[in-house]
């Protein structure tokens, strides 16, 4: 696999004494959509949250092994998690806009991190909303509360908010599981467009979704990486029996 953006090496993760991920070694490719699938509790979200150090927020957890982004181990001592998160954006399962205006939601990150101000900030907000395919719907109501938007719009707002920080990588944790089919389709289209500029890693419960939108798929089971390959291969000709059982719906 060429030109990986993230390299995982012998990654182990513990919640207290419970081992949630064991010995994961894999690479995520640049400008690709990589889907992580697997039954509930298999460690999908845990793995995703390791990539932007969101698991740091949970007490009593421990990481072993290496997570390299652009060749730099993000868990080495001199790395500030805040800096990691600037480069690695995240979209959550449930849309979580701030109770502020649409404009302020997008401008929040860039403003605090002093990426832009004044008219440059306005441009950045517009650019981000356009990139998230939300601009046309909200351009006249930028100063209305983000809470007035529909669930699907809120999720695209959250994507725009993450894009405004100009990350390299976008992590998505079941971004459509709280949305209706039409909103889901829009977000899936959006993901297709976004991979030109960003490397996207998406956790999903929905196997059709993984098959539709991803270039690579990783199948996780009980904290172990069972199979990782081109999406096409995983869904048509998996080499592992467990993968086959899962994608054909025999368990999970």
């Amino acid at each position: 696999m060429v030109n990986p953006i993230i390299k995982l090496e012998n990654l182990n993760f513990y919640y207290g004494v419970v081992k949630a991920l064991s010995n994961i070694t894999m690479n995520f490719n640049r400008n690709c959509v990589t889907a992580i699938i697997g039954p509930s509790g298999c460690g999908k979200s845990t793995l995703l949250r390791l990539l932007n150090r969101m698991n740091d927020l949970i007490d009593n957890t421990r990481v072993e092994g290496k997570v390299e982004i652009d060749g730099k181990d993000i868990y080495s001592n001199n790395v500030d998690p805040v800096e990691v998160r600037k480069k690695v954006g995240m979209v959550f399962q449930k849309p979580n806009p701030f109770p502020k205006s649409i404009y302020k939601n997008i401008a929040f990150g860039p403003k605090i991190n002093r990426l832009a101000r004044g008219s440059k900030l306005d441009d950045l907000v517009e650019e981000s909303l356009k990139a998230a395919a939300l601009w046309d719907e909200v351009k006249d109501i930028l100063h209305h509360s983000a809470m007035e938007l529909s669930g699907g719009q809120q999720q695209r707002l959250c994507i725009a908010r993450a894009l405004a920080m100009k990350p390299e990588i976008l992590l998505m944790d079941e971004p459509t599981s709280a949305l209706d089919p039409i909103s889901t389709a829009r977000i899936e289209d959006l993901i297709e467009d976004l991979k030109e500029k960003y490397s996207i890693i998406i956790v999903t419960h929905n196997m059709q979704q993984a098959a539709r939108i991803s270039d690579f798929t990783a199948f996780l089971y009980l904290g172990q990486l069972i199979e990782y390959d081109k999406t096409e291969k995983i869904f048509t000709n998996p080499s592992n029996k467990k993968t086959e059982d899962y994608i054909t719906g025999r368990f999970g």
Partner: protein, 284 residues
């Protein structure tokens, strides 16, 4: 069967009676105070100085004093209480230290107010040599309402959904900025409600200011924070126990009580309105 029904009915009746008794009690108190005090209430009563050894005239300096003391108390307690609330909600991990802090706060809330008065006398009036003054009284009242404000702050901060914090942190925003720019603004209405109730409490207290701030009578309004002041609750106490003519000043006592009651009711009303406003607006 029938017997059980009667018992059940009787039980319900007792419970209902207990609940209505509360309304009855507050109703009687308010009626009593209005009945005895309304006669002296006038614009002049509110805006003029007491005259003739406080047997006539108004209660203007006591209103001003109560205002200064409550305001001073909140200036002392608000930053301290909010900071402590932030620490407890956002930084401290559940464990022995947090439990000790909680026990401390609960005990502080349970300390009788007269003990606060003596504490203020010893520390602020005597040791720091602030004398009996607005400063000493405000500090003492500030400590008195501190537990209320800490509890309100902690509660309000904890009720901010964790997803807001996650969203902000995931954008590469530091923890302190997340707290100041996202969590605190969302919690502010709740914190304000608690603080306003704190002000109401401070306005009505007598014992803490007795030794630390309140004057029997002042001829002039205070000009600095080192001046003694008159205050509504203390004025009532003085007139009712040590005035020159206790019987003659009864209407003034009740009038002052009425003003104090209205003041506290108004303050509480503001808190209720804020809370009502948030409940309607909040969408998370």
């Amino acid at each position: 069967m029938k017997k059980r029904k009667i018992i059940s009915k009787f039980g319900t009746f007792i419970l209902r009676l207990s609940a209505f008794l509360v309304i009855g009690a507050i109703g009687i108190i308010i009626y009593f105070i209005i009945y005895h005090g309304i006669s002296v209430i006038s614009w002049e009563f509110l805006t003029s100085m007491p005259v003739d050894s406080m047997t006539k005239g108004g209660i203007f300096p006591a209103i001003v004093g109560t205002f200064y003391l409550s305001f001073g108390a909140i200036i002392v307690a608000f930053p301290l209480g909010v900071a402590a609330g932030i620490y407890m909600s956002e930084y401290a991990k559940e464990g022995i230290i947090l439990r000790i802090i909680r026990i401390g706060i609960n005990n502080l809330a349970g300390v009788p107010s007269v003990v606060f008065g003596l504490f203020g006398l010893a520390l602020f009036v005597v040791y720091f040599k602030f004398g009996s003054s607005i400063l000493s009284g405000s500090l003492t009242l500030g400590f008195l309402i501190l537990p209320t404000i800490i509890a309100a702050s902690e509660e309000a901060l904890k009720s901010v959904p964790p997803t807001f914090r996650e969203a902000s942190l995931a954008l590469g925003v530091s923890k302190i900025s997340t707290i100041l720019k996202v969590v605190l603004p969302s919690a502010l209405p709740g914190i304000l409600t608690g603080s306003i109730l704190g002000i109401a409490r401070a306005a009505g207290e007598t014992a803490p200011i007795m030794f630390t701030a309140a004057a029997f009578y002042t001829a002039k309004l205070p000009s600095s924070i080192f001046d003694e002041v008159m205050a509504l609750p203390y004025h009532i106490y003085v007139l009712a126990t040590a005035g020159t003519n206790i019987e003659k000043t009864r209407p003034i006592q009740y009038g002052t009580a009425l003003i104090l009651l209205i003041l506290i009711l108004c303050i509480n009303m503001v808190a209720i309105l804020i809370r009502f406003h948030i409940r309607r607006k909040r969408k998370w």
